[in-house]
Symmetry: C2
Subunit: 200 residues, 2 copies
Amino acid sequence: MVEVTRRRAIEDVASELFRAHGYAATSVRDIARALDIQGPSLYAHVTSKEDVLRAIVDRAATRFEQAADAALATARAGHSAALDPAAALAALVRAHVRVITDDVGTAGVFVHEWRALTGERRAGILERRDAYEARFRDLVTDGIATGDFELTDPAVAAKAILGMLNALSTWYSPDGRLPAGRIADHLADLVLRMLQGGSR
Amino acid sequence: MVEVTRRRAIEDVASELFRAHGYAATSVRDIARALDIQGPSLYAHVTSKEDVLRAIVDRAATRFEQAADAALATARAGHSAALDPAAALAALVRAHVRVITDDVGTAGVFVHEWRALTGERRAGILERRDAYEARFRDLVTDGIATGDFELTDPAVAAKAILGMLNALSTWYSPDGRLPAGRIADHLADLVLRMLQGGSR
């Protein structure tokens, strides 16, 4: 339990440092200093800086996945017959936005620093990112099939949507002009307009 | 001239390494090795790894700015009276996409690794990024004023558009399923639909 708490504290501090200064510019010594412990003591808890990054990225990926699961389950619960693709996609967008705005530090590290992972760690996270993106792509495909969405390339649309949403991790601030809920409204609206088209 | 060529060769090689392995995982020694020269010789041309990153990011920023200038000048030339905001924005989107697809390596470093810059280098590039984003935001604002676009927050829309476009630097491949021109078509279409709305 103490060990879990200590690891979590390390990840939280590292997350803040990675976000503020970038993964490249942050050393294990910086993390140790921020925790007010000695560098060597830190190595009792983590094997490397990349190990800490992997833990942060894994945790963030799990949050996105669980939020998407919950959003889709709720959207499905409302429709005993076929799922409404627009409602489901809006729910997915709002869930994604909420994960970012609830903890923009961790989300920012997830979005920007996962590229610093190497080997199997990188392959593992790439696989999870692909599976997550597929949820968006599949819903867009469903919406095209039902006639709710008007577009020709669900893969490009899914990448566009996630690009738009993930950029939030660079510009969202809890002290910013817009509260998180308003931003979620704007982005869900922009995404649905993009998919529904019909005005041109 | 030789010095210019050598510096450019260093930047090109560094650009590829930063994109493939990330800025964090690339050392000056890696860059020297890829150029088949000794580490110390490299320091005759560059003062630090961050110096190389700054040069790459600066060059990429200049490309985006020049492409946007050209696109807007062309859009303006077609309209002696008022600029058509939708046509101008589509031109701006296409120009941005072309800069990315023409050299996705440099664009990827620009989009993902500028965060590793520190101090004045970081402040300088942030300023240019803000000015660049303002071009998109201003056109969205113009389009709302003329009634071409239907939305309430040009700042959020501009960030959404650039997030969508910049994500291309992570998924575009010259050998991919879609040629660059088709991707530009799709993205310009998605952006305009998002702004024009009207179907809901």
